[in-house]
Amino acid sequence: MAEKMTGAEMVVQALKDQGVAHVFGYPGGAVLPIYDSLFQQDEIEHILVRHEQGATHMAEGYARSTGKVGVVLVTSGPGATNAVTGLTDALLDSIPLVCLTGQVPTPLIGSDAFQECDTVGITRNCTKHNYLVKDVADLPRIIHEAFHIASTGRPGPVVIDIPKDVQFALGDYAGPVAHQSHASYKPQAKPDLVEIEQAVDLMLQAKRPVCYTGGGVINAGPRASELLRELVELTGFPVTSTLMGLGAFPASSDKWLGMLGMHGTYEANLAMHDCDLMINIGARFDDRITGRLDAFSPNSTKIHVDIDPSSINKNVVVDLPIIGDCANVLEEMVRIWRTRTNESRAGELAPWMAQIEKWRSVNCLGYENSSDVIKPQYAIERLAAAVKEKDVYITTEVGQHQMWAAQYFPFDKPNRLMTSGGLGTMGYGLPAAVGVQVAHRDALVIDIAGEASVQMTMQEFSTAVQFRLPIKIFILNNEYMGMVRQWQELLHGSRYSQSYSESLPDFVKLAEAFGGKGIRVEHPDELDAAIKEMLDHDGPVLFDCRVVKQENCLPMIPSGKAHNEMILPDTADIGNIIDEKGRSLV
C-alpha cells in the first residue's frame, strides 16, 4: 500500500530505504523543504560543510573508503554550480555519488528566476546520468534508480534536480525494487567464460608476464583484492598498479613492483615495456601510464578486463578484451587456472624475475637525505613508520606530495588511498579526509597535502572541528606549487612564473583560529616527536612540515618519451645494468 507523503518526505524516506546514514550538504532556499524533513528525524546524520565543493569531495572520500554511495545535498544555482568540480572529479575516478540539488519551482524554470541555473544542462556531461524531476509521482522511482545507476557497472555520479514545488507536492511513495532502472541500462558484470579460458591459455604460456591493475579492482570491492592476491599466489606473476589501484595488492609482497606510469618505478615501467603478456585488470590505459603510445609495450600480448566496453581499445588496442566485473573475472581466472595446473611456474618465470630484480636494484626511489632540512620523501617514510600498526586511511591533495605519497607510503589494503587521479583536483584531500573520518570514526585519517592545494578547501577544517573529526592534515610545505615548478624547470627554462606560494598563512595560528591544533616542524631531528604529537592529539591537526623547497619528484617519464626513457634520481645505481647506449637513454 502506497503512502502519501510530500516530495521532501519522500527524499528522506528514499535515502533511508537506500541505507544512507550520512548526507553532506549545505542549505538554501530551494532545498528548505528537504532540510525541514531532515530536521524531523535522526536516522540520517547531516554533515554541514563550508562550501559545496567540500561536500562533493567528502562524499567521494566516504564512498571510496566504504564502497557505499556518497550522498550530497545542495541548493539551486550557486549550490549546484559549486558542486560541479566534485561531480566531474567523481566521474573521472568512477566514484558512486548521488547529488540532490534544489531547483526553482517548475512554473519558474526558464525565467531566470532567483538562484536559477540549468543544473541538468550544466551537469549533463559531468555525471553518469542526471534527472530533472517535474512530477512528484516520478520522484521515488528516480531516487532509487539514481542509486542503482551510481553504484552498478562503472560507478559514477548521478544528479537529481528537484524543483521546490515538487518537494511540497503530495504523492505516493514506493520503496526500492531490485535493478530499478531504464530497460536500456544493463551493465555486463558476468564475463564470457570462453574469453577467460583464452586468457588462462595465454597466462600459462607467458614467459614475461605482468599484471597491471587499476581502480576497477577497488571498485569491484574487497573480494576482488583477495582474488587478485590469490591469482598472484597461484601464478607467481609480478604486479604493478596505477595510482587509483594502490592497495588492491599489498606493497609488502615480493611480487609488488610499485606504481607504474609517469612517476612510477623503474622496475614497474620496464616490466611493462618488456613484458610478453600484459594483464590489465580494471585500469584504463590513461595517458599518465602509457607515455608515448607508439612505444608503449611494443612486444606484448594484451588482455584487458573492464566493465565498461568503451574503455576497450580507446587508447591502446588490445588482443583479448574481457568485459565484466573484476571480482567475477578474477574468480573465474583463479578457478580455471586451478583446473589446468597445480604446479608452480616459478622455474619458467625465473629469468624474468631475475631481470626484474636487476631493475629493482637500481633503487629508483633512492634519494639523498639531509641532516639540516627535511626531505619530503623522508617525511613520508617517517609518517609511514609511525602509523605502521594503526588502522590508517590516507587522502592526498594534488601535486608532488601526492606522487611522493604514492611512492613512499606503502598500501597493503584496498580503499585506503583516496586521491584525485583523473581530474587532479587540488583541494580534494582535506574534505575527502573529513568524509573518510565520518565513515570510520575510530580510524586514523591523514591528508598528505601541499601548502598550495590545502588552501583551496581549507575552510572544511572548520567542519572537522564542528563534528569532532580528528583528521590530520600533513602538509609538505615547500612554499611552491612544486609540481608546477618542476614542469617549469623541465620545460620552461626554470622560469618560475606564478608558482611560488607567496604570503602563506601561519598554518599553526590558522589551525588555532579554527579551533584545532597546529604543529610546525622545520628540522629532521624534530620530525618523529612532532609526528607523535600529531598522532597523540585527539582532534583535528594542521601539521606544517617545512621541507626542502626545490626537490623534484622522480623518477619521471618526460613527455613524449617511452617507458624505457625515464629520468632517474642522481643516486640511482644504473652502472651495472645498463650499457653505454642504454645509459644515454635513461
Binding site: N125, K134, L293, D308, N313, K314, G560, L568
Partner: protein, 184 residues
C-alpha cells in the same frame, strides 16, 4: 638530473590519427525522454566527434521509443568509440552502424525555393520533372519544390537550381533503415 633527457613539448603525449576517414550512418534507438537529444549532441561535441546530419523522431509511441539517425565522419577507431560511448548513455538501447551492416536505405527530403521568370522558369520546371521534384507552391515568379531521395541526388538538384534563381533550401536530414524483414 640527467640533463640530456630534458623534455620539451607539452604535458600530453600527442600522436596523430592517420587512419582513413569514413562517413557512416548510425541508427540509435533511445527512450524518448526530455534531454535525450541534448545528451546525444552533447556527447558528440564533448568528445570532438563530428555530426554531419542528425534527425530525431518518436517511432514507437506506446513503448516511448525514438530513433535518432546520425551521420558522422570518423576513422574506424573513432567510429568504434562513438558507438560504445553512445551505448554508455543510460537511455540508449541500441546503436546500429547501418553503413557497416550494409544494405541500408537512406532518404532525405528537401524543400527548395527558386525564383525566376521567362526561360529560367521553364528550365527550372524541366529539371524538377527530371528529378521527380513536386511543385508544392507556386507564384508568378517563384516555385517551391519538394524533393526526396538520397542526399547526393538532393545536392545535385540544389546545385542545378543555383544559377536558375535558388532562393533557399531546407532539408530534413537523413532517415535511414535497414533492408529486409528484421527490425533493429
Amino acid at each position: 638530473m640527467n640533463p640530456h633527457l630534458r623534455a620539451s613539448g607539452s604535458a600530453y603525449f600527442l600522436t596523430t590519427d592517420t587512419a582513413k576517414i569514413e562517413r557512416h550512418t548510425l541508427s540509435v534507438l533511445v527512450d524518448n525522454e526530455p534531454g535525450i537529444l541534448a545528451r546525444i549532441a552533447g556527447l558528440f561535441s564533448a568528445r570532438g566527434f563530428n555530426i554531419d546530419s542528425l534527425t530525431v523522431s518518436e517511432t514507437e509511441h506506446e513503448k516511448g521509443l525514438s530513433r535518432i539517425t546520425v551521420v558522422t565522419v570518423a576513422s574506424p577507431k573513432v567510429l568504434a568509440q562513438i558507438k560504445l560511448q553512445l551505448e554508455r548513455l543510460i537511455p540508449v538501447h541500441r546503436v546500429h552502424d547501418l553503413t557497416a551492416e550494409g544494405k541500408s536505405l537512406e532518404r532525405e527530403l528537401a524543400l527548395v525555393k527558386v525564383s525566376g521568370t521567362g526561360e529560367n522558369r521553364v528550365e527550372t520546371l524541366r529539371l524538377a520533372d527530371a528529378f521527380r521534384a513536386q511543385v508544392v507552391d507556386a507564384s508568378i515568379e517563384s516555385f517551391v519544390f519538394e524533393i526526396t531521395g538520397k542526399s547526393t541526388k538532393i545536392e545535385q538538384f540544389i546545385s542545378l537550381m543555383m544559377p536558375l534563381g535558388l532562393v533557399e533550401v531546407v532539408r530534413t536530414g537523413l532517415a535511414a533503415i535497414s533492408r529486409g524483414p528484421d527490425r533493429m
